[in-house]
């Protein structure tokens, strides 16, 4: 550094990202026009691109629609998305759409989804208010969708009932009303991945999820309380054959050991248990032998070892 001439342009890429990621959406756009190097850095940094906000109600000229670039990620935040938003500008190239902290019209959301027919990731977080939700009947049948929802949208799950969801992530959910979720899951036969993150209510309180129509390959339970009753085990029994990956992070699974033994094809286990005591290593070793790809599991097992509170030697 000493004696070397430093310039904003010649700073290392990571530091330019550090600076530009602190700019507002409009300042990021200005920076992207400064030089080719800046433009390249900005276009290739998801950390910066995530800061970009699309202001639909402000794009008024229909001429613009043709010019929407083939970007595959869009994030709309803190927006009021009105019925007049030029939803036609949603391209079929769009694969990831995030709408958060927004107030949105139902008809507008349905149009957006019709245009972005190849959507693979849909994240709806902190939707303040969904107006005219009755007009959402015409939603397209999106296939292979990865859906990420929080409490603000779970109540409206019915509008997405025609979509074929591959992966469902529910976060920050504490409403006790579970009928919508139950109805939604009933139609999902292709669901392969379920992530439950910070769910405050007890999903397995009654028997409503004892029998499900999908076979999970991946299940992740994070910061979520699992009751010590039969219903959770019954839910799991649907996936004894199919489950390949099980992640339990800061959550406790009752009868963890017994539960684990039932899975026939599990080859990835990732866990960080709150309080569960594993006191019998030989049994665990047997489980590994029986059901798991040993090398992989052993590695993960020992990586997670410090989280096991008590451990009895062989």
């Amino acid at each position: 550094m000493s004696g070397e001439f430093l310039n904003f342009e010649t700073l290392p890429e990571e530091l330019i990202i550090e600076i530009i990621s602190k700019c507002s959406s409009s300042d990021i756009l200005s920076s992207s026009l400064v030089s080719k190097r800046f433009n390249n850095i900005i276009k290739n940094s998801s950390r910066i691109l995530n800061k970009l906000t699309i202001y639909f109600p402000n794009i008024k000229h229909p001429d613009y629609y043709d010019d929407i670039p083939n970007c595959n990620q869009m994030k709309m935040s803190a927006s009021f998305i009105s019925t007049k938003a030029p939803v036609e500008c949603f391209h079929s190239s769009l694969t990831r759409l995030t709408i958060c902290y927004a107030t949105i019209y139902g008809s507008c959301l349905s149009k957006m989804l019709i245009y972005s027919c190849n959507l693979k990731y849909l994240e709806l977080i902190q939707i303040n208010y969904l107006k005219e939700s009755k007009k959402l009947e015409n939603l397209p049948e999106l296939k292979n969708l990865n859906l990420i929802l929080d409490e603000s949208f779970v109540r409206l799950l019915k509008v997405l009932k025609k979509c074929e969801v591959k992966s469902l992530t529910l976060k920050n959910y504490k409403i006790t009303e579970m009928d919508e979720l139950q109805k939604f899951l009933k139609n999902q036969r292709k669901l392969k991945e379920l992530n439950l993150i910070n769910i405050k209510i007890n999903l397995f309180y009654d028997g409503r999820f004892d029998k499900v129509n999908f076979k999970l390959e991946k299940l992740r339970i994070e910061k979520t309380k699992i009751p010590n009753n039969d219903h959770f085990v019954k839910f799991l029994s649907n996936h004894y054959e199919s489950l390949k990956c099980f992640e339990i992070l800061n959550a406790d699974i009752p009868n963890f050991r017994e539960v684990l033994m039932k899975f026939k094809n599990l080859n990835e286990l990732n866990f960080k248990l709150n309080t569960y005591v594993i006191d019998n290593l030989p049994i665990m070793k047997n489980i590994m032998k029986m059901t798991l790809n040993r090398k992989r599991i052993l590695k993960r097992w020992f990586e997670k070892f410090p989280n096991v509170k008590r451990f009895k030697n062989e």
């Binding site: 530091l15 530009i20 990621s21 026009l33």
Partner: protein, 169 residues
Amino acid sequence: MDIDRPSDPQVSVVSSDGTMFHTTLKSILLSGTIKDMIEHIGEGGVENMGAIPLQNVDSKTLEIVIKWIEHHKDNIQPTSEEIKDKTADFIDPWDENFLEMDLDKLYNLITAANYLNIPQLLWLSTRKIAMLIKNRTPQEIRSLFNIEDDWTPQEIEAVQKENQWCEEK
């Protein structure tokens, strides 16, 4: 901590151009890089440890960094993860005043904060540049930071078109 041992022992660091600076252990531990180094040799080794060579930081910059860490040595420092996506926040007027320096010094400070791994200082100094960009046109940014315009008119038109969809009007 022993009673007969000073609670905050002296530590010396040497800049890339050979100037020695004295500061205290508590201050220098704000640097994640040096903290790792000291943890490696163990606490007992601190007093017998010689001056720490910092080959990537020149004396002018090191002086500025030491001024900052000495002022903040008793403050709880956020980790780089905690601070990563922090947005507008209250800025300590002392820091605001401290960052009043010419751009050359600021670039050196940013690189030093990055090398020494002082997340809060890196955040403050990069934010300072981000504030300078604020509400400026691309041409204004170029002249402020002395950046060469390497676009052809055709290229710039194409990029502007790409940007239209997320411009705030």
